[in-house]
């Protein structure tokens, strides 16, 4: 009997732990790993859907493959590209791929299903040979303009003797920048953790639809792996925690903006000073705040591509924005809430489950409602392969926060289903900030509990009004919605909300 009691005791323990952290995601979504053909290093740099529902996917060692989900067949379209990290379909016979050295148009001109023409669309940016000078994009706006994002270099290494493009004289002397191995160690600090000595590093560059005109568009990016448009036509760029980034970010990028990482300032017309020597207060004054701060270690460590959920997909979440992440077993769902032209909003975990895994790098949707996720790691944190995610449909439900609106005194949260009032007891709110500084990352600053003075669910049960005594701006408000369920007993999908408040209504 005591033995039996022991067994049941551990059952209760398991149940107690499960109740603490249930995983509601697999009940609402399916996760399927798609086998990659043997012989291909299965790290995915880019993917996009062809008009007929097939996928074009580029890999770490430069292959571009066409995958047909209907038949499971793979076909080689192109090969030999240099670390391609973005792919955009123009038509079944024309793909744009961003590789380290250039934006390339791959065209199948003879209809045999393989690219025979590799046209250089844009290579007007610099390369020092530093490994961290990745190139991302392109994203296309409604008018057909293309946008690419250029990573800064890392002081994990210097630069090569022979570079491509223009060199900025601002900063450590060039003969020191080319030091290697042990000889590099004494200089790396002065180079800056991430640096931008080759042209347009740390910038987003806009290309006219014909590719002929390149316009440096905005700067201040460190490692802008993700670039894309949301359903409202906002240009979104994600950036990675590190020097000058207390935590990772998603930016709403506008022309001429400086988004906080200082290295790229050397390419601003007329700029002459070493950004590392400019007073931080002055840099802070110059910079555009992030639309969304994504708390490190909780929500995102290395955010990737933003992508809009198309109409008709994922039920009530259609037209919202998803963002990938390399390190966390989650995507981020972003709900903008602009106030008086200031872009801000709420970031919420999406598909936060071990079933998703890490390394979620590139995403696209197909008309059948599938979300395709390409994974990579490049020896950092991440994973490999292709994952297909499908919603189990209306019967499985999708109980989630679908609106977050700041008010004068607090926030209004909207839900996709009526909330069980009795489950609101676990709602907690905290607020914190981050330092803006040269150091790598930032702890949470002034992290404190926010007293909720009133907490009212409307009659329909889908709108929760939270009011506070005060609502200081320039803070991340974290809503912990532990144990919240719908009236139908469904667990909330995404029970943390991270709202970046710049301006209250």
């Amino acid at each position: 009997m005591s033995c039996l009691r022991g067994v049941l005791g551990s059952c209760i323990l398991a149940a107690a732990l499960a109740a603490q952290s249930p995983d509601p995601w697999p009940a609402a979504f399916t996760f399927e790993n798609v086998p990659i053909p043997a012989g291909i290093d299965p790290q995915i740099g880019g993917l996009d859907a062809l008009p007929d529902g097939r996928l074009a996917i580029c890999f770490h060692r430069g292959e571009v493959m066409i995958f047909d989900p209907a038949s499971g067949a793979w076909q080689r379209f192109a090969e030999g590209l240099h670390e391609p990290l973005g792919l955009l379909v123009e038509s079944a016979a024309s793909l744009l791929v961003m590789q380290r050295a250039e934006l390339t148009r791959l065209r199948d001109t003879d209809g045999d299903g393989q690219a025979d023409d590799y046209e250089t669309v844009y290579d007007g940016f610099g390369m020092t040979g530093n490994y961290h000078e990745f190139a991302f994009g392109p994203a296309r706006d409604a008018a057909g303009n293309l946008y690419v994002a250029l990573n800064t270099a890392s002081n994990g290494a210097g630069v090569r003797e022979e570079i491509r493009g223009a060199w900025s004289p601002i900063g450590l002397a060039r003969d020191k920048m080319t030091a290697r191995g042990r000889a590099w160690e004494p200089f790396k600090q002065a180079a800056g953790r991430m640096y931008a000595r080759a042209a347009w590093r740390g910038w987003v560059v806009k290309l006219s639809p014909d590719g002929e005109t390149a316009t440096p568009f905005a700067c201040g990016f460190r490692s802008p792996d993700g670039i894309g448009f949301d359903a409202e036509g906002r240009l979104l760029v994600t950036d990675n925690q590190g020097d000058w980034l207390g935590t990772s970010k998603v930016h709403h990028v506008k022309r001429g903006g400086f988004y906080g990482h200082v290295a790229s300032l050397v390419w601003r017309p007329g700029w002459t000073r070493n950004p590392l020597e400019v007073p931080v207060a002055e840099l802070d004054e110059l910079r555009m705040p992030a639309m969304g701060l994504l708390p490190h270690g909780e929500l995102a460590n290395s955010p990737t591509q933003p992508v809009a959920i198309p109409a008709g997909v994922f039920g009530p979440l259609a037209r919202q924005t998803l963002i990938g992440d390399m390190d966390q077993h989650t995507l981020v769902r972003f709900l903008p809430d602009p106030v008086a032209g200031v872009s801000q909003g709420a970031a919420i975990p999406f598909l936060q489950t071990a079933a998703l895994g890490r390394g979620n790098h590139r995403m696209t949707f197909t008309a059948d409602g599938s979300l395709w996720i390409g994974k990579t790691h490049l020896s950092w944190a991440g994973a490999e392969g292709l994952v297909r995610v499908r919603w189990r449909g209306a019967a499985a439900g999708l109980f989630a926060v679908d609106r977050v609106r700041v008010t004068q005194r607090g926030f209004v949260l909207g839900f996709t289903e009526p909330v069980a009032a009795a489950s609101l007891g676990g709602v907690r709110v905290r607020a914190h900030r981050y330092h803006y500084h040269k150091a790598y990352g930032s702890p949470k600053v002034d992290d404190h509990a926010v007293a909720v003075v009133s907490n009212a669910l409307d009659e329909s049960g889908t709108t929760l009004v939270l009011e506070f005594d005060e609502l200081p701006a320039d803070s991340v408000y974290t809503f912990q919605l532990d144990g919240l369920t719908s009236r139908r007993g469904r667990a909330l999908l995404g029970d943390r909300i991270y709202y970046t408040l710049l301006r209250a209504r």
């Binding site: 107690a16 090969e79 050295a101 250039e102 390369m127 590190g242 150091a439």
Partner: protein, 296 residues
């Protein structure tokens, strides 16, 4: 039966959950902030918890110091990002977890070799491969013409850099990680050109335009100043060497090529005259001529 679900049993269970918490905190933190790169029992992006425990048992202060300011130590791995933002208390909890969770554990050895070395997409000939190459600019393109001859074209400088004979490249130093290395040439260099053989001025703008594949081999196109160039290298029959064809648009009448002496090979052409290493295309061949690089 009902006594099994009694208050006492439940309290005992909750007590078990509660005592598990302090340890879990370190475990949770380790998983959230380190787990993407450090696995418990084997090397991943960084060393295993077992290896770390071996290095930092009884060395809390040193552990904290490393986490706040990691410096490059191992070869061929990424830089560990600094973790100082977590603060001493959290890092200490992680240290405690690493030490406690690895007692009596054995490291699982992971082989570090190129799984794709022999794969068809690497072994196909001909093959065009854009990758960081030695003795070239960063926008290099390696081309395996056939099983014997290979060359490196530089899309930044818009010129051939060198030709080698052997087994193409070993790209593993680049592919194994994030590209912080160069590919290795497998074989022997037979030609190294220090500059374009075409009479291009330093001040001429160079623009790489791309390439077209025919029978797997690229025809490069680029602009040197006002001159539009196409350059294509193909194998000679019988493994004798390579043919290099130029097509020029907008070239002046008096163009002459300045070639470089190859090693163990020689330049030939039926399309013009040699004066040592200077080659003048015949009038009728000015817009399109071929040179061969042949074994002596």
């Amino acid at each position: 039966m009902p006594d099994i679900l009694s208050r006492r049993a439940l309290l005992a269970t909750l007590a078990a959950v509660a005592t598990a918490l302090p340890g879990q905190d370190g475990k949770q933190l380790f998983q959230s902030f380190c787990g993407a790169c450090h696995l418990p029992d084997r090397v991943h992006v960084g060393p295993s918890a077992i290896e770390i425990a071996g290095l930092y048992r009884g060395k809390r202060a040193e552990f904290l110091a490393w986490c706040k300011a990691p410096s490059p130590k191992r070869k061929g791995v990424i830089q560990m990002p600094p973790m100082g933002y977590l603060g001493d208390a959290k890092l200490t909890a992680i240290h405690r977890h690493i030490l406690a969770s690895t007692v009596g554990q054995k490291e699982v050895v992971v082989k570090n070799a190129d799984r794709f070395r022999a794969s068809p997409s690497m072994r196909r000939r001909p093959l065009v491969m854009r990758i960081f190459m030695p003795d070239a600019g960063p926008a290099a393109i390696a081309v395996a013409v056939n099983d014997d001859y290979h060359y490196c074209f530089d899309a930044g400088a818009c010129r051939l850099r060198y030709v080698w004979q052997g087994d193409f490249i070993d790209g593993w130093p680049v592919w194994r990680a994030n590209g912080n290395a160069l590919a290795k040439i497998v074989g022997d260099i037979v030609l190294r050109e220090p500059r374009s053989p075409l009479p291009v001025q330093q001040s001429d703008k160079r623009k790489f335009l791309g390439y077209r594949l025919r029978a797997g081999l690229p025809t490069f196109r680029y602009r040197l100043g006002e001159v539009r160039v196409e350059e294509r290298i193909t194998p000679l029959p019988g493994g004798r060497g390579l043919a290099r064809r130029f097509r020029l648009e907008g070239a002046p009448r008096d163009w002459r090529l300045r070639l470089t002496a190859p090693v163990g090979m020689t330049w030939r052409s039926g399309d013009g005259e040699f004066d040592g290493l200077e080659f003048t295309p015949a009038v009728s061949k000015r817009a399109e001529f071929t040179l061969t690089l042949e074994q002596k």
